[in-house]
Symmetry: D3
Subunit: 255 residues, 6 copies
């Protein structure tokens, strides 16, 4: 554990920092189903690993990681632990206001879970309006999705829940937590025709246009997987992780 962690410093050392110019990275994760082959903590592990790497290379500090997010629609799958969106929002509000109270002005949420994004939005907008803070959020899988086009040999050209990209990154970072023998290819099942479910978040296609039709997640995917993890490799994972890392280092450097 190196000294890029915010909580590795004493209050006095924090007081001595140039707080207004020190960027705090806030990793947000989740504890939710990530397919039969990946551990519940994928979002947390990857957000934390990325934040640590970025901090090591930029002088930013990594704030305490939140391992619980808003994942209510996955409660049908064993092990998912979800906060209500209202609760998560309040936690982030208090977290952010404390940092601002201490003089920090540059906060970047390193968000490993799409379900958390609105809570960040709400808090960031409030603080931007009423405080002199500068806040950003990077949604790591969404960025991975953008960067994937430059990764050679990726079969999936877009990020899928528990699919090739996520599985590859985990094979690179935490192979001991991946059970490839439990992996299989599964895509979100079409719900009730003619509505074609696109994700577990409610996204659905009707005549080529995206709308939302909410369905119980287990009716959409039996395994929790919504892509093809079988083509994942640690090598691809390394490329993706490094691409994310480079991107974030540059982003943080310019923030």
């Amino acid at each position: 554990m190196k000294r890029h962690q915010f909580s590795a410093y004493s209050w006095q050392e924090v007081e001595e920092m140039d707080r207004a110019s020190t960027t705090i990275l806030i990793p947000l994760g989740s504890t939710e189903q990530e397919g039969t082959h990946l551990p519940l903590g994928v979002d947390t592990f990857v957000a934390e690993s990325l934040a640590n790497e970025v901090a090591n290379n930029t002088g930013a500090l990594v704030g305490p990681v939140l391992p619980l997010g808003y994942s209510e629609w996955f409660l049908e799958f064993s092990g998912t632990i979800s906060l209500k969106l209202e609760t998560l929002t309040q936690v982030l509000r208090e977290y952010t206001l404390c940092l601002i109270h201490h003089g920090f002005r540059k906060l970047i949420f390193i968000n490993g879970h799409a379900g958390n994004s609105t809570a960040v939005d709400v808090v960031a907008r409030e603080c931007t309006m009423s405080q002199s803070a500068r806040i950003a959020m990077v949604e790591i899988w969404k960025i991975a999705n953008s960067l994937a086009k430059d990764i050679p040999d990726l079969k999936e050209n877009a990020f899928k829940h528990a699919g090739e990209i996520m599985t590859s990154v985990m094979l690179y970072l935490h192979p001991d937590m991946v059970s490839m023998d439990r992996a299989r290819v599964e895509y979100v099942k079409s719900g009730q025709a003619p509505f074609k479910a696109k994700s577990s978040l409610g996204l659905a296609d009707f005549k080529g246009v995206e709308i939302k039709v909410y369905e119980g997640t287990k009716t959409l995917t039996e395994s929790g997987i919504m892509g093809d993890p079988l083509s994942a490799t640690a090598q691809k994972g390394e490329l993706i992780f490094n691409a994310l890392k480079s991107y974030l280092i540059e982003m943080v450097t310019h923030f």
Copy 2:
């Protein structure tokens, strides 16, 4: 006012309905800045007009319209009236649970304002898990964005806040409320280079990848416009509105 309105029926008539098979359309609007030339109620007006047309053509009923949404980031502009996201969520939760309590099982939110979407998500997921309801949401401007590619002569190939699509629809529906002499072309200003703001919701581009950098809205757009309303016409508006209407009629029919 025709009898497609839910609240145009007496309680006894509601009781006599085949409630389990009657679809309720719930129009969600906002009261927020929509550029210098468009009225604050655009989202509400269009959501309500569409819902009415769709109901007239499908047998669905239009529930009471909510004219206040979550638009907190526009409070810098005079006239914006915003609910907190938590408050909006609670309103939608109680609205939805009452309908389900009365035996309705098919609810579609006709959402005129992107800021409301998460509140619908939260409530729809809760009800889908704990109740036997079937819930959908259509985000009208997002659909307009998809349908725009088939509209001839549109200059903007994507929906922009207070831009060509929105202005055209309003010129068609409510020309008396549009002040074209106050319209002008304005795009979201780049915030702090190298971050390039893409919308007032925090979206920003950094090296071709989308992240979020939250900024006060007035620093992004002076007029509130984020597109080109000058090329808008009522004719284009009619085409767009009718495309939306046809799409929604078909969607509701299949729901």
Copy 3:
């Protein structure tokens, strides 16, 4: 739709207004049982119609109408959609504070539903104490009750839920939504003697004195009617509506 609607103006037009001297009328309705012959939206429709007329004659503006109120005791009747009183209070608090934030100082709630009154009270008292706003509320059926004594030929000398006054006003404003063939005379049944129920709000008479004894509404009235709608006519409705309108125009003019 004329330009007496607040949301028919652009943010720039709002900014150009003399906001401190512009009165905003806020119509509050409900979606609740109004007897077997009247539609669920009576309170909303009448509040909105009155507000529009008053605005047209005074220069006041009509804010977005809230069609959901606090009507929890009517949930036994199909179609009633009620907010919790706490939720309604929070909605009104945010609505009001936004208007005050933008510089408006004169707000009048045009309240079509008695159940909403406490929520207005709470918010108005808070704002009166902590802000320089001037707030009023008119409860339209209570005023109708006062004005009724001057309307010739009215059989009911006091306002009754779904009775002569309300039915007459609806016959005048929205005859298409009134089903006189479903109307009948019904009065609140005496609950458990010697307590004599007086209304669905809990009011009861014991030995000539008013107390409250709460009972399920369906035990009090089978039809939801608590008066005599059979003597209602559109002509009476016109007189009542015009009396209300004149009164409110004068009231708003002096505010």
Copy 4:
């Protein structure tokens, strides 16, 4: 202290009671300005005294008294301690649900303060709908107002805050807490003509009809008195208190 107090019994004695047929009286008071000559606790003292007398004569039990109510509009006067209406509602909700949990089915709120009434309404309606409880509320000053017409020599024919009725009752019950040398006649001042304030709750007269115009309380009454306490006597107080007591004993007996 006699054994009419609920909290004077042990849990075992409560368990041995015929709880379904035992009525619990719940005294609600306030701590608020009651004029220059009356103590802050008037509402609490009178509600508690009445509840005790009624319990002594009926076998009902007096639950714990709540000495704080919703009196926010009096915070301008020193010593007023007010709960938010939402907080009071939650307190009453939990109080009531605990009693129902233990098998009590007959609850009567002995309410000494009009500001508390809506909180009781909300809770009573919820419990009436979802639980098999029977709930009533008596608003003691409103009843005093009704009974006053039968009290000889009363100068005020209607209850006034800190006026003849309230002062008389306090001269009878707690003469040591009344400072008649600080009493004076004061009526609610007309606010801004032509609106004529009628009470500190916002009630106002406009052209003979009652509406609400909210004003800071100190602008309405300098002393907090809104009637004529000078004609108060302990003898009148005794008559009023006994009339209240007799009425409530009869009411509780029939409940």
Copy 5:
């Protein structure tokens, strides 16, 4: 009732006080099981009696007593009325802020129930940080526990729920509410060996070290008693009460 009660003063008298130097004592009680022989209100009665005595001897004033506390774990015993901890906290927050709003700066909570302590802590810390108030709390049974060592002939050298100390104090203050024929010796039963329950609050002993193991209270004590009330006497109660009183008088005098 003497004039040591805060609510025995008029608002004007409060205004004339030297509020910054007047200490307000706030008695906090509970309504909860206190064994088979003691009444539900013990904590309230004792807190109030002590506060009154202390006020009489120091010039401090006694604020309105709160007879409901946080006692949720006793709801299995008939008659217990508990607020949620969150609700109690909010009540105390509003109570305290009102007093501070009126200029009081010295507040001492006379707390008769351990379950209330955290709510006081939370509010006191908030006010200490953001307001210029000085706040203290005395937990009366904890103090009794400390003072007990100096009371001759006490069999229990430590305070026990419904044991010798509490019973003695009640025999002294309210013998009419004590049913010694229902008293018996009972100690908290060992839950599941090797965990040895120490109190109803969850405290448990494992290998001589205190941890918490939460169990339903009725599995810990059948009677609700957790000590030896049989050795209680009014004489011991008088000694304990007077020791508490002397201690608190001195404490308040120095505050």
Copy 6:
């Protein structure tokens, strides 16, 4: 990272577990001042390390760690990040209910921060009453305090914030995060005589008896230290940590 982490398992593996007999350890930390020489995350680091060791030796699983606690009174010291107690309680409520929802019945909170204890109490009591769960909490510094008497050469015979015990444990676990050159001996200053502050939680001594007098923390300790860290050594830390570990292993084994 080994497989003692709850979130290292996939949802399917969780489903295959014997959930009713698997104990979940929930580490609770804080981010707060811990003196000039210790990092903000001490409570989190130690709770997590202990939970990991215990899990490794017992088959229990370690749930996601919460690194933010209730530390509001330390906000005067730079870097402290505190949740409101109400927020923390809600987080723990949702966390716990999700685990129970999935069939886990044995939960032990490994609590590194005393300020969190009431939140655990509240949730554990709720769940014990309404669910068939078995919940325990170990407060690690309180246990360390008990075990300290058996550690040779300890100068402090009781746990002190940032004192010998805590510093020793950190010197053993994370020497790189300890700045002994910033350590100094400081004890909680006596606040206002004759009240003698005993801790930053409000504890104070008056005449040998413990009461609470709340004071701003910086008036009590300049450095945040409230003991003697100078005598701390890694060897003592190892002994203490191992004693804690052995104790907890045994406790968990018997749960």
